[in-house]
Symmetry: C2
Subunit: 321 residues, 2 copies
């Protein structure tokens, strides 16, 4: 059974009458509380599927925090605290564990998230589950997009997929591109403040993080919002076209179907794009408009390619093993 099938089975069997799990559909759970809601997510980092070759323990710890920071901040929620459940292997040395803890410490500072608890266990491979939470009046949902809005991303896609090609399949790259590609894998940096600020401004109608890849993220928005998405400007990073050519790869494939991405995808009404972009610039980021929402066919994603519409496949979520 694959992940989606298992999740569907869980939703079917475990749905609580007062809290149907199927209503969640976002990467976070929202629990109404007094004035604000508790927003919480849980992510398990698994050594054999989530850790690329060459990543050090400090970077592994950081990535486990990033996975959850990305969940919350893409929904516009400031991460408040995190519980870290550690599964340590017997072969890990004291220096490995210290490096891991240093990674938690610096990620905690970088993202302003307090480590408030957790537990330590012995496992046959390194496992880190982060349960991160924040408090918020509302979240940006996946299902809030309307037709005729701009589809906008926080940065280019495809560097992590290229990095994996370099690490796992010995793809060739010039020095600068290689550094960027590996850096995107080893030190992923979600635009977490931008996610929060845009939500605060009330601009985005929908949003999603992109850890399953751009194509899957766009499909989630199109399906849950009941719109079509047409991509006119595929967000290709500098050097990727050359990299693809050199290695006989298809650039669009790397951009659309790679995983390990930590950008945010939003839909934004046209008249608010200017304001959104000013907010982004103030934070040293830029928004990249990549396409538009259309009224139909709902739940579909297209790419304009030389005047023709090409269907984007609903796939992605590349694991490392």
């Amino acid at each position: 059974m694959d992940e989606k099938a298992i999740i569907n089975l869980i939703i079917k069997k475990v749905g609580h009458p007062a809290f149907p799990i199927s209503k969640i559909g976002d990467d976070v759970a929202v629990i109404p509380f007094e004035k604000q809601s508790l927003v919480i997510s849980s992510d398990m980092l698994v050594y054999s599927t989530d850790v690329p070759p060459g990543m050090n323990y400090s970077q592994i710890a950081r990535k486990s925090i990033v996975m959850s920071v990305s969940d919350l901040s893409s929904k516009g929620v400031i991460p408040y605290g995190v519980l870290v459940s550690l599964g340590i292997t017997r072969s890990m040395k004291r220096s490995d564990i210290e490096s891991l803890i240093d990674g938690f410490s610096s990620a905690s500072n970088d993202f302003g998230v307090r480590i408030v608890g957790g537990d330590v266990n012995e496992t046959s491979e390194l496992i880190i589950t982060c349960s991160m939470f924040g408090f918020s009046d509302s979240i940006v949902k996946r299902g809030g997009a309307h037709p005729n809005e701009s589809v906008v991303v926080s940065g280019p896609f495809g560097l992590p997929a290229s990095g994996l090609k370099i690490l796992l399949e010995s793809a060739k790259a010039d020095k600068r591109f290689k550094i960027n590609a590996l850096n995107s894998l080893y030190v992923p940096t979600p635009p977490f403040k931008l996610g929060v600020e845009l939500h605060k401004s009330g601009i985005p109608t929908s949003s999603i993080d992109s850890s399953d890849g751009l194509a899957v993220s766009l499909y989630e928005i199109s399906e849950q919002s009941g719109v079509c998405i047409r991509i006119d400007n595929i967000p290709v990073p500098d050097g990727l076209v050359q990299f693809a050519k050199t290695n006989n790869l298809v650039a669009d494939e790397l951009v659309l179907y790679g995983g390990e991405e930590y950008e945010i995808v939003w839909t934004i009404p046209d008249e608010k794009f200017g304001l959104a972009n000013r907010i982004a610039k103030r934070m040293g980021r830029r928004l990249m408009p990549i396409g538009r929402t259309l009224s139909k066919p709902t739940g579909s994603v297209y790419l304009t390619d030389g005047g023709k519409n090409k269907r984007v496949e609903r796939r992605g979520w590349m694991h490392l093993n």
Copy 2:
């Protein structure tokens, strides 16, 4: 490095100035929020260390929920919701996964806790991290005991340790004792409603769950409260003395130093014991007074044995591998 050493290193390095992790000391983190606090805990169940031979997948799922229910309810907090991070192995069959999900479903009903989210991963052994939370005005702490109070437990100890002796070392037992011992391992049942009701009544001055064993639990209370604990009536279950004799084991060892226990330990002022016991009886349970808190030596635990005081060792937390 053992668990305690790793936790101490984490506390030293990751303590957040605004939220020093060392202040936690309980099995739960308490996050002040509007009127009430968010109370949250995270526990990882690991197949190789937490699953005894013969336990089925439905029982495994239930146990993972029980571990967290025990954390919260021993602190007097009603569990509200849980996020379940699953690590499934490639060799698990569809029927195994269905059995696992059935276990979550029935545990969710048994303990009234909503499964509100989580994620699914592939791991080299089965891993389940439960992050459970509730909302409360306060918790019963480990450090609230005073001298001259009753030390009280929710039931006898030693059945899980006996069950492990039966399963792992072929210890002999009569049919009835064997059923009780294995049942305590396969279907642990924390007195979760009693934990909540006693806290509501304001009776306990301190409390702790006992998953690391009775001795360690008593030490935690004595150390964090700055009292001495003297055990006068060791809580031995029916049949355990005979079981120990048959297998050349020491009964007190099984009671004090076994792990996998899901009872609660409280300290209670003498004049309130009658009321506490009436509350327990109303819920079909009984409180067992096992000893007293004394003013000194602080941080120590003794057992009266034929008029003599015998020092209890600070050990326990027996793992299955």
